[in-house]
Structures are given as C-alpha cells and as structure tokens.
Point group: C2
Chain length 216, copies 2
C-alpha cells in the first residue's frame, strides 16, 4: 500500500506543477507540443523539418529530454533557435518539474511554439502531464503496424499521430493502412499524418495542422 500512496503523491505533485506551467504558457500565448515516440522513430528529425518550415512564421523553442547525451540538442541548436537539453540520467520520462526548470532558461525569449521532445519510450511518458496543449505521438513504419494496440495509453492520450519513414515502406512488412486502422481503434479522434523526414514528403500537411493549432 505504501508504494501506491507514494506513486499517487508523485503524480499529484506532477499534475500540480503541470497546471502551473499550462497557465504560464497560456498567459504568454505559447502553444506547447509534447512529442513522444520509441527511441529512433525520428523525433529530432521531425523537429528539424518543422523548424525549417515554420521558422519564418513563428518563434520556436525546443526542450529536449534524453536519458544521456546532448546529441539531439546540439543537432537542433544548428537551426539557431533556443534549445535546452534535459538529461534525465536513469529516469525514463520527463516530469513537469524538469520542464519548469528547463523553461526558466529560455523564458525571456519570444516564443510562439514550444516543442518538448520527450525521452524515447512508448510507455512511461504517457502518464506525465508536462503542461502541454497537445501530445503528439510519432511512429516509424519500421516499428511494425501493431504498436498502437501494444502501447495503447500513448495513442489514447495523443491528439495527433505522425507516421514517419514512409520512404522505407517498400522494404518493410508494415502497412500504413493497418497502422491507421489500429490507431483509430484506440483513439478515433487522432489526426494522422504520413511523412518522411528524409524526403520531406507529407511535412507540409503536418506543419499546416500545427500552424492551425498555434493560431487557435
């Protein structure tokens, strides 16, 4: 029983900080995405493509979570936007308090869109509110089409699904139709985008959706 009590307290504390963050983001009209996926699905590549496309229209900042290394922050930093790296060490997900601390380092910047790249993990980050407006889950075609069924919480809690690496479809056994069918069976309201961060196919549609969300 003691474990359950402690876990509930941890989540309550997280939700409280997430709500404070959400109020702060809203008062400053910052639209916030919590970007989630397995390791290697292409979160950093999607952020790069998104920043390239929307940089002239909006002020974008990125907070990157990783268990170890600042590789992703260094990569995104080449785009000349404010980037903060959170290294979680052994922890498998971002928590609101980490985002609050990271945000302090960029809060004087003009920001319209804040993208939080979560730790690569399809399980644990699903339960932690970071004060975002929308959770977006990214899935690569190479991961197989059954993943929405096997990791339902992530797909249930997300507003959009970006299916990445569609350029690899001729070489893998996955079907985009099957991914979509399985994802919709978990969350019918999911907005689904098919992209290749390598060829840039589909990036326009994804960015248009994001642009409309920011304007709301």
């Amino acid at each position: 029983m003691s474990v359950i009590t402690v876990e509930r307290k941890v989540l309550e504390k997280n939700d409280q900080i997430a709500n404070e963050l959400r109020n702060k983001f809203r008062s400053r009209k910052i639209f916030v995405i919590n970007l989630l996926s397995s390791p290697g699905s292409g979160k950093t590549s999607l952020i790069e493509k998104t920043v390239e496309q929307l940089k002239g229209k909006f002020n974008i900042s990125v907070i990157v979570g990783d268990v170890q290394t600042d590789n992703d922050a260094m990569q995104i930093g080449k785009l000349n936007i404010p980037v903060v790296q959170i290294i979680t060490h052994s922890s498998c997900h971002l928590e609101a308090q980490l985002v609050r601390d990271a945000f302090k380092k960029i809060e004087d910047e003009p920001i319209d869109l804040l993208i939080i790249e979560n730790v690569g993990n399809l399980v644990c980050p699903a339960g932690y509110d970071l004060g975002e407006d929308k959770k977006v889950v990214l899935l690569s075609t190479t991961e197989g089409d059954d993943k929405p069924l096997k990791y339902p919480a992530m797909f249930r809690n997300s507003s959009a699904l970006v299916i990445n690496k569609i350029d690899l479809l001729p070489y893998v056994n996955s079907s985009v139709e099957e991914i979509k069918k399985n994802a919709k069976s978990i969350n019918y309201a999911l907005n689904i985008f098919e992209v290749s961060c390598k060829t840039s196919e589909g990036i326009d549609e994804w960015c248009n959706w994001l642009l409309n969300q920011i304007k709301k």
Copy 2:
C-alpha cells in the same frame, strides 16, 4: 526520502525473487536469456528465427512481456513450443515476480533454453534482474547509431548486442561500424552480431554463440 526508500524495497524484493529463480533455473540446467529492445526492433522475429534454427537441438520455451495484447505469444505459439504471455497493463518492464508466476505454467515442460522477451523499452527493464543468465539487447539499424550512447544502462548490462534489420542499411543513415563503436565505448566486452530476421543473414553466427552458451 520516502520515495527512495520504497523504490529500494521494490528492487530488493525483485532481486530476492530473481535469485530464487536463478537457483531454480540452474538446478534444472535451463539457460535463460532476457531479451531487451525498443518497440519494433524485432524481438519476436529474432525469437522465431532462433527457435526455427535450434528447435531440433534443444527444448525451447518463451515468456513474452507486453503492455497490452498477446499478439507476440500467438505468433511464437505457431512454432509449437510452450509460450506464456505476461500482459503488464501500464507497467513498462517485467519484474521477477511476474516471471516466477509465468514460469509456473510451463515448469513441467522439458526446457534447455528459456527466452524472456521483455517489454519494448530501452530504459526501464535495464534495472530489473529476472534471474536470467544473460541479458541480450537488440537494436535495429533504423533506430540510428547513437542509441548505445543515449541508453547506456541497457548496453552496459548486456552480454550481447544483436544489430537487426541490416537489410535496410542501404536505405537508412545508420552505420553498423558507428553502432559497434558506440556500443563498445559503453561496454567493451559486448558480443556483437549483425543480422536480418527478414533475409536470415547472420542468424547462424548468433545461434552458434547461443548454442555455445547453452552448452557451458
């Protein structure tokens, strides 16, 4: 401080059950692999290929962990070997107690090799001993070559690294040499295998290593 205490108790309890399991496996001369990777790296496919190759030589059983669905167990079950599915619901890793309960369902079977397919997650399962002889981490070429640096605990604790989907190398930006260099920088003693579960390339070398481990 209370959280730390509780977490330590959970791990102590896990280690105690893992040790009991290890003693049981050893007394029965069962060689046990704890197979770890991201979602969609090909754990189930590697198990299928391994069982196909070694089935005539050894009695193999499989315990499969998933957050949700019994797809993998149904798939492996087609090979006519004893398979037990553990559905963890929201939990992100297997614990020794779950393996103990699952093993009870197959303990009357003759078993030389027990493969435990962990939940698809490169972070959390690293810390939980399941009584195995060896941890084996699987990484797909599509996940990028920096993953050993970003998820070091998993690679540090493993005895072998299987690099899967080498048939996709012409279409992705990863380099096997870079994966190996990064993995060796974390754990120099790693035995590394390059395979394609699609074309069967490299499966022989992996199975030979496994065969030698079982015979020890």
